[in-house]
Symmetry: C2
Subunit: 190 residues, 2 copies
Amino acid sequence: MPKIVDRVERRTSIAAAAAEVIAEEGIEAVTMHGIAARAGVTTGAVTHYFADKDEVVLEALLLVDASMQARFESALAQDSPLVDALLAALPHDAVSRRDWSVWRVFSDRASRSASLRSQYRASTSAWLGAAAEALASRRGCPLEDVVLDAEVAVSTVDAIGDAASVDPEAWPVARQRRVLEHVLSVLDTR
Amino acid sequence: MPKIVDRVERRTSIAAAAAEVIAEEGIEAVTMHGIAARAGVTTGAVTHYFADKDEVVLEALLLVDASMQARFESALAQDSPLVDALLAALPHDAVSRRDWSVWRVFSDRASRSASLRSQYRASTSAWLGAAAEALASRRGCPLEDVVLDAEVAVSTVDAIGDAASVDPEAWPVARQRRVLEHVLSVLDTR
């Protein structure tokens, strides 16, 4: 089914271009024309695949969400300690900084759009679930015992990701690691 | 010195109008003309007080930062428990939701502007310092003993504030309180 593959690939490459524009120039620079220029396609190609800016931003969010989750899951699959898996998801290079910038801009837009907000809820719940599973398997305890711990861990990760994508100089990986190790240790040892 | 008072009041009321537009319509809707319309002044009045959009966004940030801090400090001054002081700063009504929305939009802009980033750093450091002082005074211990605890507490507060301003339905005050009480208790009892 080459046509379907083509359609998915095209949408993804346009969404990737949009993610770059969002991170580098801000949401105000995101226009159908600007995205097309960045993706190296015609404006008509963008409007063929996406009805409006919200649809592009949504697709960009799905892309960066998958990107962050893949780094996290693949670190865990390689038996990395939880702190390293979280650091893999957090901002430490151009791609991971882009991911968190897109996430921030998407969140802001979700505050004013019910349809984006439903994806916001799905993504945040998935992260909370993944963190709860990682904590429960680390402790060998049932999921329901770690719900509040997972809320605290995810909150800490989210705040670090946001701050480190805004101000990378103030948030080198060493500081991210220090705060993450601290929160995981207080959650474990209480 | 009525002229100086007048100038400060004018700037503040224009910044308050900008904060409302940012929270309700997003940064893309923020134009010198749109801010003037919301503030009930001429576009010339806005451009008289502010050189560009960044200056307006910065003034809006200073306004909401003072607003959040005032709620926090006044709760502490009335001997409220720390969790209540933090909840007073967090989103629970139209004004506090506005504050966190402006903070998110300002942060995003600060990721691309060195001058906004220096205010971002000043504001985040001030919050971290205030949290560290509150924790140290609660425990009767020196400030340097609570630095990492303060990082975790502030991160949790920041993530809750962000999420609750994006998705108030998913973050009623009861959930905010549950997570805050949990993080403060694990930090205290470890």
